[in-house]
């Protein structure tokens, strides 16, 4: 079973984001694999272990720094990687341009399934999985929480999360699967895995090498943060009774909930 995992490197979810123009200030940011993409890596590895054969290839569009996340996935057990390292393309890439670059990279590989997270943790657009399936001309199943592949690799039974419940469906392979939380628990990289990852092959490509020329279809015009929360206030009063009265007054006059 050969699988491809598309992953994006994103700021650590604990990072305090600062806006800079139509992007974010990148100084001091710790970069990690987008958490949903980690589920995708884990599922591909589990599948390879279960089928006892095949390759897991990582495909990532990102600048130089993305190699760290690619190496992390290789340390977890992936076999090879394609790094679409094209800063000029990446900086302008919207979901469509991203999907176009990924699709072009995936087309050159042998695969039975493509995995990726249901959305990237940074821009949260959630469009790439569907666009990727369309560009590859294969079915897409989103929000997957369970996958079982038939022994002959012709199809898979999939459970996906839908509002208030689960949907069970069969899909022919190859197909694109977008991972939802609950699909698995991503493994830690092993110590020998981390050491071996440094020697695993990573094919570095520019967008032009892949023949991708389509530009973005959308442009970010502005980013803004949610309004800052107001500071808390300590209710003053000489004793408990006075404080309770002051609190009741504030709840009535200012918050208007009593």
């Amino acid at each position: 079973m050969n699988t491809v995992v598309c992953l994006k490197q994103v700021p650590d979810t604990e990072t305090l984001i600062k806006i800079a123009g139509t992007g974010i200030a990148t100084d001091g940011i710790k970069w990690v694999i987008s958490p949903y993409d980690e589920f995708a890596v884990e599922e591909a590895l589990k599948m390879k272990e279960k089928m006892k054969a095949g390759n897991v290839t990582i495909v990532s569009l990102g600048p130089d720094r993305a190699i760290e996340s690619i190496r992390t996935a290789l340390a977890m057990g992936a076999d090879t990687a394609v790094h679409v390292n094209d800063a000029a393309y990446y900086e302008k890439a919207d979901p469509f341009a991203t999907a176009a670059a990924l699709a072009a990279a995936v087309k050159g590989l042998e695969y039975d399934a493509v995995f990726l997270g249901k959305q990237a943790m940074d821009d949260d657009s959630g469009q790439v999985p569907a666009m990727l399936g369309e560009l590859l001309g294969i079915p897409v199943v989103t929000q997957v929480i369970k996958i079982e592949v038939a022994d002959d690799k012709s199809k898979a039974s999939v459970t996906r999360e839908v509002e208030g419940g689960h949907a069970l469906l069969d899909v022919s392979l190859p197909a694109v699967f977008s991972a939802q939380k609950g699909l698995n628990e991503p493994r830690y990289a092993s110590l020998p895995g981390i050491m071996k990852a440094k020697k695993k092959p990573v094919d570095v490509k520019k967008a032009a090498d892949l023949g991708v020329s389509d530009g973005p279809k959308t442009v970010v015009k502005e980013l803004s943060l949610p309004p800052a929360r107001q500071a808390g206030r300590i209710i003053q009063g000489d004793d408990a009774k006075a404080k309770a009265a002051a609190l009741a007054k504030a709840l009535h006059d200012e918050v208007k909930i009593i």
Partner: protein, 543 residues
């Protein structure tokens, strides 16, 4: 270096006389109400008599029932001195509390005044980067101090003591209990890092003790003020050379630093009002490894192997932790940590100062794969991101909370050992304890600080097993004492484990503690009931 300690006055002689005269003029019934008025008028200090306010302060993590007639939350050394002096004159017991995270009832009052130090925020935290020290108040959460140290030193220095409870415990409570964290050996505990303590004595006098300055001679300190002298004998019972938070510090040869008498004494001899702590260089990175093994016998073999490999010194590690019998069952993220049907796991953390992470990984790969106890190399997990580490800590912390859910369903509570035994007795002790627990059919899990031979057995009894589980706990304590160990490596004695103290050190040790206590606190008022059982001082303690 001297055994003579000049006591400092925080309150003037006039103020002390005023308090003493005022108190003696009061009848018992009006005592607290009048004291409350006097402290407010003269020292702007509030003594709360409101049962609701008191009720909110008496419960600590031990869940032992407590009671107090009044509560006081001083904000400064002077306010602290005023309330302590007043209680000393009026012979009112005073129980000190801070973060109230102790598990032994050491901050649970059994009557008298509860003195909460959570408002003691002066002096401000001040890091001296050159000297690698920090001056700190006692009423600050330990983790906040650790963060402040990082910030003020621009991430170059750390305060390395990291008890699991560090987001609840305060600096003062951690000093009083000699709290410790993951780091094995002496550097893991507070004692190792203390440069100076400001200590308010039970009578309201102050001692500012720098490490190395006040050393007892022939087993005594001489405390002097005005014309008076107090001979303060120190405890001299033998302490095994292992990690130890069981009872106050002692010195068989009669030479002890005053600072050491205070650290770990659970507030029996004085109240720490401020401190100066040493700091350590911050490593540029940590190598974090977790690997699982089939069973505990392999763990013991690995422990021996690593001891030899590191020439008997684990202090280059910042963690050498064990996840033993049944941990896997009670742990979140267990499939991430344990491989196959492995039953136990080991966590190692190595601070990196000069080595790169790659070199360290290579070095530890060789150390681990050369171990004689078959470690499957693919079972060695490496945590590389903050998220990896956070998940590991979540797994670690999930064990006690999931165990708690189990005992709550059973309508009982957990009974946890905190024993440490010498390394050459470790295997014997573990075998004995496992057999005992299994023979009794008790459900339990084992985890803790492998580097210090300090493992916790957490017993989860069914309702019908409670009495027997308590007896089994006693047997475990007796066994550890018989093997030259101690009953507490970190949680201390408090009220819950005061019976264990005698089992560990004998009746004469208790007599020595009483002698030290009596010299400075003749009515056993300060933190009454901690370590020393009430009957041991009942006659002299009664007001």
């Amino acid at each position: 270096m001297t055994e003579r300690i000049e006591l400092e006055k925080i309150l003037s002689s006039d103020e002390c006389s005023f308090i003493d005269d005022y108190v003696t003029s009061l009848g018992e019934a009006e005592l607290l109400t009048s004291l409350s008025g006097m402290l407010q008028d003269r020292f702007s200090l509030r003594l709360d008599l409101d049962p609701d306010i008191i009720g909110g302060l008496i419960l600590d993590s031990s869940n032992l029932p407590g009671s107090a007639s009044a509560a006081c939350r001083p904000r400064s050394e002077r306010e602290c001195a005023a309330i302590v002096r007043a209680c000393f004159s009026a012979k009112i017991p005073v129980t000190v509390s801070a973060g109230r995270s102790n598990l032994t009832g050491s901050a649970t009052p059994e009557g008298g005044v509860l003195l909460s130090l959570e408002q003691m925020k002066t002096p401000e935290v001040r890091v001296d980067v050159e000297k690698m020290t920090v001056r700190s108040p006692v009423g600050i959460i330990l983790e906040d101090l650790r963060k402040e140290v990082l910030e003020q030193s621009s991430n170059t220095l750390v305060f390395p003591v990291d008890p699991t409870s560090r987001t609840d415990a305060m600096v003062g409570g951690s000093l009083a209990c000699n709290a410790s964290g993951f780091t094995p050996g002496d550097p893991g505990a507070m004692r190792n890092w203390v440069e100076q303590l400001d200590v308010l004595m039970p009578d309201g006098h102050m001692i500012r003790a720098r490490r190395g300055h006040y050393l007892s001679r022939d087993g005594v300190f001489i405390l002097s003020h005005d014309a008076a002298e107090i001979v303060l004998p120190i405890p001299r019972y033998a302490r095994p050379e292992i990690k130890n938070a069981s009872g106050p510090f002692s010195s068989p040869d009669g030479v002890m630093d005053f600072v050491d008498l205070i650290i770990g004494s659970e507030g029996l001899f004085g109240i720490v009002t401020a401190c100066e702590l040493r700091l350590a260089r911050r490593p540029h990175e940590y190598l974090d490894l977790f690997f699982s093994l089939k069973d505990e016998s392999l763990t013991l073999a690995f422990h021996e192997y690593l001891h030899e490999k590191l020439s008997g010194n684990f202090s280059g590690l910042s963690a050498f932790e064990y996840f033993g019998v049944n941990c896997r069952k009670y742990m979140d993220h267990e499939s991430k940590l344990f491989s196959g049907d492995d039953q136990v796991g080991i966590y190692l953390q190595v601070p990196l100062y000069d080595l790169t992470i790659d070199d360290a990984a290579q070095q530890w790969y060789e150390i681990l794969t050369e171990a004689p106890c078959i470690i499957d190399e693919n079972a060695i997990k490496m945590m590389t991101t903050d998220k990896d580490r956070a998940i590991f800590l979540e797994a670690r912390h999930s064990m006690p909370s999931r165990s708690l859910e189990v005992v709550q369903r059973r309508g009982t509570y957990t009974i946890m050992t905190d024993t440490v035994v010498p390394r050459d007795q470790f295997g014997t002790f573990l075998n004995y304890t496992h057999e005992l627990l299994k023979d009794e059919g008790l459900d339990y899990l084992t985890f803790g600080h492998l580097g210090d031979c300090h493992l916790h057995f957490m017993i989860l009894p069914e309702a019908s097993q409670l009495t027997r589980a308590t007896e089994v706990y006693e047997l475990i304590i007796e066994k550890s004492a018989e093997l030259g160990g101690v009953y507490s490596g970190e949680h201390g004695t408090g009220k819950r484990k005061r019976g264990d103290f005698q089992k560990c050190y004998g009746a004469s040790a208790l007599e020595q503690l009483c002698a030290t206590k009596r010299a400075i606190d003749p009515h056993f008022l300060l933190n009454r009931g901690n370590v020393i059982p009430c009957q041991a001082h009942a006659a002299e303690a009664e007001p």
